[in-house]
């Protein structure tokens, strides 16, 4: 295989590449946050009016710990009752699996093409 000679990259082009990567990185985390799509929000399904430790499902030992931490039934209400919602659609699950498989297929396929070039040049075929 003929020896590949990469082009020399100018400083402006190097800077542009860095900016692209930084924008993509920051976007990957912050876009879901800005759009309010970041999951894991816990919510209180059935709030308790005039909460007591018993009404919040806390026994004596548990309520004593909360009091030692400085909580009252009112201030601990949301902390104790908030729950994740683990219901999901099969379509969403299958979409996630498809996206992950597509990703690995893509990088393994392209990597193999690039790797054969590397080995061919390195070991002189």
């Amino acid at each position: 295989m003929a020896h590949y000679q990469p082009p020399k990259q100018g400083k402006a082009s190097q800077l542009f590449d860095v900016v692209v990567l930084v924008v993509l990185t920051v976007g990957a985390l912050f876009v879901p946050l800005w759009m309010g799509m970041a999951g894991a929000a816990k919510s209180v399904a059935t709030p308790v009016a005039n909460p007591t430790w018993e009404a919040l499902g806390q026994n004596e030992a548990q309520s004593a710990k909360y009091e030692a931490l400085g909580y009252t039934p009112e201030t601990a209400h949301d902390l104790i009752l908030a729950r994740f919602d683990y219901s999901f659609s099969v379509t969403a699950l299958l979409t996630m699996i498809a996206v992950i498989l597509l990703y690995y297929f893509l990088i393994l396929r392209f990597s193999e093409v690039e790797y054969r070039e590397v080995i061919s040049e390195k070991f002189g075929e």
């Binding site: 990469p6 590449d17 860095v18 894991a40 026994n59 104790i80 990597s111 590397v118 070991f123």
Partner: protein, 478 residues
Amino acid sequence: MTQVDITSTTMDGMGPHGTKVGLLRVLGPAHVWALGVGIVLVGEYMGWNFAVGKGGAYAALIACWFAGILYSCVAMIDSEVTSTVASAGGQYTQAKHIIGPLMAFNVGLYLVFAYTMLEAANAITAGYLFSVVASMTGHADALDQRPFIILVIMFLAWLNYRGVLATLTFNLVITAIAFIAIIVLFVSTTGLVGSGIMEHAALFEGHELPYGWIGVLAAMHFGLWYYLGIEGTTQAAEEVRSPARALPFGTLAGIMTLLIAATLTWYVCSGVLPWEFLGDGVNGSVAPLFDTARLSGSIALVWLLGFGTLFATLASANGCINDASRAWFAMGRDKYLPGWFGAVHPKYRTPYRAIVFLVPIALIFALGAPLDQVITFSILSGLLGYTFMPLNIILFRRKWPLETIKRGYEHPFHPIPALTLLTLCAVTFFAVFLGYGTQLVAMIGFYIVVSLWFHFWRYRFVNRGAQFTMPWPKPRGY
């Protein structure tokens, strides 16, 4: 008879063949242990408790042990490959030699983002700790945590800039103190010395598995946080005096240390703190070991665990800067990223441009995102990296069977650890999907876009054959 013996006296400690730029070889096995455990130990001081929130206390314990199996597989696989790849970049360099450039580029980014996000999470926790100490010592108003977050990141970046030996020696000392603090808390509160304060049965009553068994699966998401980063020991490959011996020893000793620390941490915290408080790391227990000490009634324990938490966050952030910058540097050196990043400081022999460049990235996330989102970003990058490892070891053994390259360490029962790791990664992907599916898809979308960018644009600047720097024979099948 093996064709290549990377563990021989003549080859042990050598740099990558054909590499013009090398880092200073000054580290021993204790530094490797400190690098691995130093990065991870903070996972016992904060973050793991989100697993309690996702499934309850028992679910977090089950996740702790299954994640322990996952990381034992990671440590075994990593030790074998790394003991033959004595070059900066860790798994990035492994992927480059075993799977191919695009995989390597992705793995390099996994490493940089996993560590940079972990560093950001550490800085957030350090800022929180300073605010708690301020209120405990009489400060009336809420303390602005941002100056402390910025100071932590800037100070540790400066330390890394100045030299790796001082950096990791600093890590060795503060990691040891943080680990001893956990042992002291365990001994003091469980009744081994004096009267115990554990109330597991009473605190679990009525809340054994609050989400049922699906909560156990969901808890695997943050179960990774107990150990995330142990694979970072491989980043020191180009700076240890004897990679073939020091890297396996340091990594395997590290995972054993962490298995002990994680189990002790779960036992102590879940026996003192109610699960709803323990499981909410944003509005409840940000630093659970510290909170456990607060409820112990001992001022000495409060101070000890306060310093333990601070030291653990500093050690972790320190190791993260070290690892992320090595991966970024290695990609720059190979022109996977602009070559400007592939420079070594003329005096300190550190990858100083990579270190400085990653400071503002860490600050953006530390100052602008909630702790659980930052941790999830880090875990997802780590998880993608762990999914790569089984593919890596299977292809490594196939392309270079044991008789072709003598390893410093050969992991037993191949391919059982690889298949176990792959299965546990699949379970963890599902766990992340439960509650954080949007971030998962956004993250994979990001990696698909940057992969296309690399393959169709960036790769043209990369020398083809010169990327293969290890003194290995030609791989089988090519």
